[in-house]
């Protein structure tokens, strides 16, 4: 059983469309992180959400942490081909050990 369940697993959309990726759990977290990974590279941290109900924006990406701190979402507005990649949510333990969701593979077609 995955601690963090991501959906959808795969998403293929046209340039300019909007999309939302979900990261859900039955556990409560002090914070959640979102990463993007491109082929042949390691994951890169996009954002950390800490407060229940928090919304953070990174250009066309909007991240939300659920009020109960059990789930998070990533919304991309007007997706671009450069947004293509694997999006991962993760929980960090006190030692920094990261527990990842299974990831969402996003393909944005021109």
């Amino acid at each position: 059983t995955q601690l963090l369940e991501q959906s959808p697993q795969f998403l293929s959309i046209q340039e300019g469309e909007n999309l939302t990726v979900y990261c859900n759990s039955s556990s409560v977290f002090s914070s959640l992180q979102w990463y993007r990974q491109e082929p042949g590279e390691g994951p890169v941290l996009l954002v950390t959400v800490v407060t229940g109900g928090e919304v953070k924006k990174l250009k066309r990406l909007t991240f939300q942490f659920g009020d109960a701190r059990k789930d998070s979402s990533l919304h991309i507005t007007a997706a671009q081909p450069g947004d293509t990649g694997l999006y991962l949510c993760a929980y960090s333990s006190n030692t920094g050990k990261l527990i990842f969701g299974q990831g969402t593979t996003l393909q944005v077609k021109p």
Binding site: T95, G96, L98
Partner: protein
């Protein structure tokens, strides 16, 4: 700028052989993490180091896997008697210190294929 580097980038080995994977962390980073990424299992934690000590080895899948870190810098992950299920991308990350407050910076990974 010098990020995390890993070598080799690709390794093909025969079942039963031993392999060594190397990670060079960012200079000055005292924490170093190893992860494995495979299609079936996603991205999984293996082991982490704070300095040369490994307080958490809980993710190592079997006693065929071991890791060491010397001089608080370079780390080597060794897999003995490789099996086909060991095929995966092995990722290394470093951070200034171990802990939830410190961002981890990942290397590009070593793709291991066991034939």
């Amino acid at each position: 700028g010098a990020g995390v580097s890993q070598s080799p980038s690709n390794k093909v080995t025969e079942k039963g052989k031993d392999v060594e994977l190397r990670c060079d962390p960012i200079s000055g980073h005292t924490a170093l993490y190893w992860y494995r990424q495979s299609l079936g299992q996603g991205l999984e934690f293996l082991i982490y180091f704070q300095g040369n000590s490994a307080p958490d080895k809980s993710g190592l899948p079997s006693d065929r896997f071991s890791a060491e870190r010397t001089g608080g810098s370079v780390s080597t992950l060794t897999i003995q008697r490789t099996q086909q299920e060991d095929s995966a991308v092995y990722l290394c990350a470093s951070s200034p210190r171990a802990g939830v407050s410190y961002e981890q910076y990942f290397g590009p990974g070593t793709r291991l294929t066991v034939t």
